[in-house]
Amino acid sequence: MTVTITVNGADHALDVDPATPLLYVLRDDLELNGAKYGCGLGQCGACTVHIDGKPAFSCLTPVGAVAGRRIRTVEGLGSAEAPGLLQRAFETEQAAQCGYCIAGMLMRAQALLDRNPDPDDAQIRAHMQTNLCRCGTHMRILRAIRRAVAMRKGVQAAQEMRP
């Protein structure tokens, strides 16, 4: 059966079982590496993507349920050549060790910043609670999110200063 999904602004008509979790469609059909298989249970967040702007576990989401909805993956935030602001903040803080969790961390954090551009530390920690990291990179991830907040303010301040 054909399911049409919209990923990072592009439409894809796919001949798949609509019960297939979105994760496998992203990885195997669209060949997007960002969302990772971690648990298949919604317990670790490695597969996090945005569906209509909200963070979601792609491992638990049947592709048939997201037809026509806006899906965004870490590839939609930017590329290695042109990274987005949050990706730049992670790069500056070197916020990765093995990095397997990081694409999910980025998507989770981006959802917070889209909703609340100036979260405090407690809000960041509470929001990130769903995502697991085993290397212990948490401190750097927190610093990177705070840096992204500051960078955004800096960009805004710079724009406001322009004549």
């Binding site: 297939t20 648990c39 060790q97 697991l132 290397c135």
Partner: protein
């Protein structure tokens, strides 16, 4: 395939010849084993005068190639595990070649291309490979300078380089590395004394260069083995019972065979796997087969679940072989105070965030395996024996996986994939384990216990110290087919080899049981337990986690009994100047003298170890706050100081120590694998919770000691033990309650604190 001449055939020739130097004859300084003594015997030492892994691979072209355009390709037998080694080794090579790091390409472990450096384990990569590449690059620079000097007719000492890939004569003439290298053969053996660049002149080494692997990891680039997509690739799932030692009874193969998209069911002896065109089909087939009942074969009982007493009872019931680790006696005054205590650690999961994965392809009699194992060359040996091929017909290539922190499922899944590929030739087979399979089948970090007894004299000197440790072998790394699950399931099975201890100075269960402190009358014994109630193997830092926890807890117990400051009792018994400086640096940055004193709710603790007494020095201090209602411990702030010799990349060192500290807080404060009577009962993140964002410290600060030009000391595991003990010591300082059984969980602390 690459066009470089294979260094392998040459090494084979050498190791078969008269140049082989028996390891037993090597002086003690060489007794540091490839990969920390884990895995197999490691490559033979053929050039004992050389440094690092050059001892076993002395030919320069095994390590470095300079292309005509001046770019360098550097080969290492070590692999990127997320520890940042790729960037650090590039920095080492760039520094000694004196070229920009952007012109260095690093090739990591590949049985067809790189030297065999044993396992990437035991915090050995900088010591083994970093040292080898540093010296090989210095050799290459020496040869390039000599060749340019010959061309110019000047003495070689007058040739200089400026970090831009050109050699310079005093009169201003220059030659590019590429031009000079084209006239040279690097197929020469390294000399031991090639001059190294002076630390004051460093351009690349010691700088916090951004890691080369991070951009792809932030943007969905192809960063992992899991991301490889080969033409015609099929997806497989392997089918077993819920945990090691269990089997499914009559799984419904008929239904699965009829499922559209299922290509093949592979059944050989006790091995069962399903292969499909699509990944989701393979998973659905697996789920259907898993509906069958399971049974556990007759085996020794699984470990008892729960308390420290249960861990101790399980271990003490096993037959032990006693190994003397340390025995010193010297005159000391009479004891006025004595403290005796038992410490335990339960079985711990590696808990990789990404379940293990491998790709295998069998074409024209050759098996290619892409693996994220820490032992790429061991994967070749295992697969060759398992599928009945000569080793030269197995090509194992490392590709990155999720962090493993020791032997997780990586080796098993590589073997599984190879068995499937042998049965389904031509097409690449991608096999990934499911979450519950990783939890159920991977080797665990062994449960352990120690008993310590120490005595203080009237002058607050320790007059006797006894340390006994009980442990299974931590080194069950597969070196043949019997070491992997698929081998045990073959018909006839390859039997699992008997576990053996790693000898000191590295040790396994005994690792770091020999205190670096100077105590009078020190007696340390390792009760080695070869019979394993649960499948176990290496977990980051091996026995050092519990041994350091025990030693450093005991020091605080003594200090508390005698009213001595915890820092003072450590400094009073430490003669190693670098150890003293690391402790002092952590204490200074932490503000130890003015720290919050234990008040029932808040308190501070510190701990120290030099990893294996051979690697990096690490001291940790932390401040905790206890919620007495719930028993929850919040680490307000932590400071670590580390001396790893010359840091190749200080930010890489900070990242490793920060991560190790947080991971150790999770192990020590939260984690224990649960067991039911017939299976492991931890199979997901709710039955095996680890630290989440709400529980990580308020802040972590890492002081990296400046040791210009000092030899590299392994760092990656150095913080596991000190962080664990600092947590226990801080909790004791805050509450007056000493927790000796891991995990130091909220439930246990609340029970120990009693009614609020």
């Amino acid at each position: 395939m690459n066009q470089i001449p294979s260094p392998l055939s040459r090494r084979g020739f050498l190791t078969g010849g008269a140049l082989v130097v028996s390891f037993a004859l090597a002086p003690r300084a060489f007794a540091q084993l490839a990969g920390g003594g884990e895995g197999g015997a490691g490559p033979a030492v053929v050039a004992p005068d050389l440094k690092g892994s050059l001892k076993s691979a002395p030919w320069l072209d095994a390590w470095i190639r300079i292309d005509a355009d001046g770019r360098a390709t550097v080969f290492t037998g070590k692999v990127e595990l997320g520890q940042g080694i790729r960037t650090a080794l590039i920095q080492v090579a760039a520094e000694e070649l004196d070229i920009p790091p952007t012109t260095v390409t690093l090739v990591t472990a590949d049985t067809g291309r790189t030297p065999d450096e044993g396992l990437t384990a035991g915090s050995h990569s900088m010591q083994d490979s970093g040292t080898a590449i540093q010296n090989a690059a210095a050799n290459v620079h020496l040869l390039l300078a000599a060749e340019a000097a010959r061309d110019w007719g000047i003495p070689a000492e007058q040739v200089t380089s400026g970090g831009d890939g050109r050699l310079r004569a005093p009169d201003g003439r220059t030659l590019s590395y590429g031009e000079v290298a084209a006239r040279l053969s690097l197929h020469v053996q390294a000399v031991p004394d090639a001059p190294l660049r002076k630390p004051a002149d460093y351009r690349t080494l010691g700088r916090a260069l951004p890691r080369v692997d991070i951009p792809a990891k932030l943007t969905g680039g192809a960063a992992y083995l899991h991301d490889m997509r080969l033409p015609g690739m099929l997806h497989a799932r392997v089918v077993r019972g819920p945990s090691v030692g269990t089997g499914l009874q009559s799984p419904d193969l008929d239904t699965v065979a009829r499922m559209p998209g299922v290509v093949k069911i592979v059944r050989q002896g006790g091995f069962l796997a399903v292969v499909a065109e699509r990944q989701w089909t393979a998973i659905q087939a697996l789920r259907h087969l898993q509906r069958a009942a399971y049974a556990r074969a007759a085996q020794p009982p699984l470990p008892a679940d729960g308390s420290g007493d249960a861990v101790a009872a399980t271990l003490k019931a096993l037959p032990a072989r006693d190994i003397a680790i340390m025995d010193t006696s010297e005159p000391a005054g009479p004891a006025v105070r004595s403290v005796k205590a038992r410490y335990t650690r339960p079985w711990i999961s590696h808990g990789s965030i990404g379940p293990s994965c491998a790709i295998a392809q069998y074409v024209d009699g050759t098996m290619t395996v892409w693996t994220h194992s820490q032992g790429t060359f061991d994967v070749r040996r295992v697969v060759a024996e398992l599928v009945g091929l000569p080793p030269e017909k197995v090509h194992a290539i490392h590709a990155e996986g999720a962090g493993c922190y020791g032997q997780n499922g990586a080796d098993d899944v590589a073997a599984d994939a190879a068995v499937i590929a042998r049965a389904v030739p031509e097409r690449p087979i991608r096999l990934q384990w499911m979450r519950e399979q990783e939890f159920g089948w991977e080797p665990l970090g062994p449960g352990m216990m120690t008993e310590l007894e120490a005595e203080l004299g009237a002058d607050n000197r320790i007059v006797s110290w006894r340390h006994a440790v009980w442990s299974n072998p931590h080194n069950n790394r597969p070196v043949g087919a019997g070491g992997v699950l698929a081998g045990n399931e073959a018909d006839p099975p390859f039997p699992a080899p008997e576990g053996k201890p790693i000898p000191m100075p590295e040790g396994d269960g005994s690792r770091n049981s020999n205190p670096l402190y100077s105590f009078a009358n020190t007696h340390v014994v390792y009760h080695f337990l070869k019979d394993m109630p649960a499948r176990v193997s290496a977990l980051r830092s091996l026995g050092a986690h519990l041994n350091v926890f025990s030693i450093e807890s005991m020091l605080d117990e003594l200090a508390a009994a005698a009213g001595i400051d915890p820092l003072a009792i450590r400094l009073d018994h430490m003669r190693d100047e670098r150890a003293r400086e690391v402790m002092q640096a952590a204490a200074d940055r932490f503000g130890w003298p003015t720290r919050t004193r234990g008040d029932g709710r808040r308190g501070c603790g510190m701990a120290f170890a030099r990893y294996k007494n051979l690697g990096a020095y690490c001291a940790v201090a932390m401040e905790v706050e206890i919620d007495r209602e719930t028993g929850r411990t919040m680490v307000r702030r932590a400071v670590a100081a580390v001396d790893c010799g010359q840091p190749a990349n200080p930010d890489g060192v900070r990242n490793q120590i920060e991560g190790a500290l947080v991971q150790s807080l999770s192990w020590t404060g939260r984690e224990a694998v649960r067991f039911a009577a017939d299976r492991r009962a931890s199979f997901d993140w709710s039955s095996y919770p680890i630290l989440r964002f709400d529980d990580v410290p308020g802040s972590v600060e890492v002081v990296v000691m400046d040791r210009p030009g000092a030899p590299f000391l392994g760092t990656a595991e150095a913080a596991q033990g000190p962080s664990a003990a600092a947590l226990a010591n801080a909790i004791a300082d805050a509450t007056g309650v000493r927790l000796r059984d891991m995990p130091l969980s909220p439930d246990r602390l609340k029970a120990a604190l009693g009614p609020v």
